[in-house]
């Protein structure tokens, strides 16, 4: 008898316990919604709604005093048929490509050095911090900081003349494309270092030895093993750098001395003139353009799949 009552009492005990637990527990579907909720709310209010708003406004009519609901394609037609638009896009793309190439080269090498050549964990952390700490300063301040350095009577020219390398100050250093690129590279190299270092750190160092063991030169090890395995980081970094340069406003304005314009500065001019619908159309085109670029890069690597690995 006692043996048969034991399982029964055990079973009733579990029922009671699980029943009690269930009463304090929220239904699963609600838990999921609560988990997704905060982020969804932020994305809807701060991203989706404004995007829809400027998409709608981009079709509106306007004059000097106000904007009027309408469905006109004129804003887009004007934007896309103005040679100035194309010039600005070409100029921004050119900056983006040059900066992408330089930051990729620097970022990859810095990341490789940090991951594979620095053996001590402490040294690596310190060096990473040295890379990251400048990021705690505002980008605007880091941009402006180049002006006294690169200016006509700036530190760099003083050094060059002091060393006798040049007799009079170099003027192309500041308020030029050169200055814009230097600033971009300074601002954005870390955006490459981070993702690439992350990818590289996941490579088993034994793979490099295995490649050497199979007779691969340093270069072939790079091309056949390291670069394919850090593709995710390279693409992520490239997306970050590209979108940053394409969406830049301040650097081109400050550092080019008015010789170059950026897409956003064109947009801001329109906003200052209260031409909201063309500005909105401009923004829509920029978003689509960047989205296509990013989608193209994503095609090379399925970043989402790689990230969950």
């Amino acid at each position: 008898m006692s043996t048969s009552t034991l399982p029964v009492s055990l079973r009733s005990g579990t029922v009671a316990a699980s029943g009690r637990r269930r009463s304090t527990r929220l239904p699963l579907w609600l838990v999921s919604w609560l988990q997704v909720g905060p982020l969804a709310l932020i994305l809807i209010v701060l991203f989706a709604l404004p995007t829809i708003l400027f998409l709608v406004v981009s079709f509106y009519d306007y004059d000097r005093v106000g904007i009027y609901p309408a469905f006109l394609l004129d804003n887009y037609r004007e934007l896309l048929t103005t040679p100035a638009t194309w010039r600005v896009y070409v100029s921004s793309l050119r900056f983006a490509f040059i900066v992408w190439a330089i930051t990729l080269f620097l970022g990859f090498n810095i990341a490789y050095f940090l991951i594979f050549h620095i053996r001590s964990g402490i040294t690596r952390t310190v060096l990473f911090l040295l890379c990251a700490i400048p990021f705690w300063t505002s980008g605007i301040i880091r941009t402006i900081a180049w002006i006294p350095f690169l200016g006509r009577n700036g530190a760099f020219n003083q050094i060059l003349m002091g060393l006798g390398l040049t007799s009079h100050p170099l003027t192309f250093l500041l308020f030029s494309d050169f200055a814009v690129i230097v600033t971009y590279v300074h601002l954005f190299t870390l955006l490459m270092v981070g993702p690439i270092a992350n990818s590289l750190s996941k490579i088993d160092p034994a793979l490099l030895e295995a490649a050497v063991d199979a007779g691969a030169s340093r270069w072939r090890t790079m091309v056949d093993v390291v670069i394919p395995l850090s593709k995710t980081g390279i693409v992520l970094g490239s997306i970050l750098v590209f979108t940053q340069v394409m969406g830049d406003y301040f650097v081109v304005r400050q550092m080019s001395g008015g010789q170059s314009a950026s897409i956003v500065s064109m947009l801001s001019t329109q906003i200052q003139a209260m031409e909201y619908p063309p500005a909105a159309a401009n923004a829509v085109v920029l978003v689509i353009f960047v989205a296509i670029l990013v989608a193209g890069m994503m095609r090379i690597v399925d970043v989402r799949k790689e990230l969950v690995k």
Partner: protein, 329 residues
């Protein structure tokens, strides 16, 4: 360049800063030998293997392969190939491309190198997996791919870094049979690093036991087992009781000991601490009155004729001819 030895180490030393990882070791490995480097972790066996492979520079001494000094040559010029402990397969390449990798590095055309790689995949019974990625294979299958990749260069010496440690015990025994068969068929020298004496005993023609950066004994496993030179060796290869008599330390094989009485021959007194039934044999662990841990491996029939329990006083006995004198530790 004909030499009777595949690999010769001459006073090889490896220093990391002030620590000596490998201290002035010399070793000759005859042609077509299955050589096991055996020892506890940190004894320098892996470092030695990596120096032979060329992945670690020697701090002193020379490494000869087929009579040629290769100390300063890169791995590919040494005629060695290494199988890594983690297998180190390239995760982004198919098995076929993994195996064909070294041919690609030599500039062999795609069609040719793939044909060759398929041959080696067939050799390790992995022909059906040519297009899979390493992550889609089990540990044992990955190991076969790693083996094919190492062999495709037709190395003179194959270096294996703890090749069986990542496998489950059942597979370990199967794979070790296969490694031995492969070594016999290819007729080349295998140098196999392991910390398992079972593995080394089962495989090796030449068993090299290392400790603290030194080679303590190198001989055929049978010689090592029957004539260990020191208490360390006797303890490390196991199944030995290390004791002392008037002349110094001695070793007696556990399977040559039995529980008897003091009149039967050389003996020690103590107490039974554990009895392990192992099938054909029963292992009786004892603590001697002098505090040594000893054991007797007794055939099951013998044991159950006169069983012992933990806590029983007992006398461990052996025949005088089984006493093996050891060098002082």
């Amino acid at each position: 360049m004909d030499s009777r030895f595949d690999v010769e180490l001459i006073s090889v030393t490896k220093r990391y800063g002030t620590t000596l990882a490998v201290d002035d070791i010399s070793l000759r490995i005859p042609r077509g030998t299955y050589c096991c480097l055996l020892g506890p972790s940190g004894c320098g066996k892996t470092t030695t293997l990596r120096m032979i492979a060329g992945h670690e520079a020697v701090s002193g001494g020379d490494i000869l392969i087929h009579g040629e000094n290769v100390s300063d040559l890169p791995p590919i010029k040494r005629g060695t190939a290494m199988m890594f402990q983690s297998y180190a397969l390239f995760p982004h390449m198919s098995c076929l491309d993994n195996v064909a990798f070294s041919l690609k590095m030599r500039g062999v055309a795609k069609k040719e190198r793939h044909a060759k790689a398929r041959e080696y995949l067939a050799l390790v019974h992995m022909a059906d997996y040519a297009d899979r990625l390493p992550a889609q294979l089990s540990g044992g299958q990955q190991q076969r791919i790693a083996l094919a990749r190492a062999l495709i260069n037709r190395p003179r010496v194959l270096l294996l870094d703890e090749p069986l440690s990542a496998l489950d015990p059942f597979l370990r025994i199967k794979v070790r049979e296969e490694l031995k068969r492969l070594q016999r068929e290819l007729g080349i020298t295998f140098i196999h690093v392991t910390h398992s004496q079972d593995e080394a005993m089962a495989l090796a023609d030449l068993m090299v036991v290392m400790e603290n950066g030194h080679i303590r004994q190198s001989a055929h496993p049978r010689d090592v087992f029957e004539r260990p030179v020191s208490p360390f060796i006797a303890r490390f290869i196991g199944s030995h009781n290390v004791l002392r008599n008037n002349e110094g330390p001695i070793a007696v094989r556990a399977d040559r000991c039995w529980l008897g009485s003091a009149g039967d021959g050389p003996h020690v007194n103590g107490q039974v601490v554990a009895v392990e039934y192992q099938g054909a044999m029963v292992r009786v662990a004892m603590m001697t009155d002098t505090g040594d841990e000893v054991s007797a491996l007794v055939p099951d029939q013998t044991f159950y004729q006169k069983p012992a329990e933990p806590g029983d006083p007992a006398t461990l006995v052996w025949s005088p001819q089984d006493t093996h004198a050891l060098l002082e530790a």
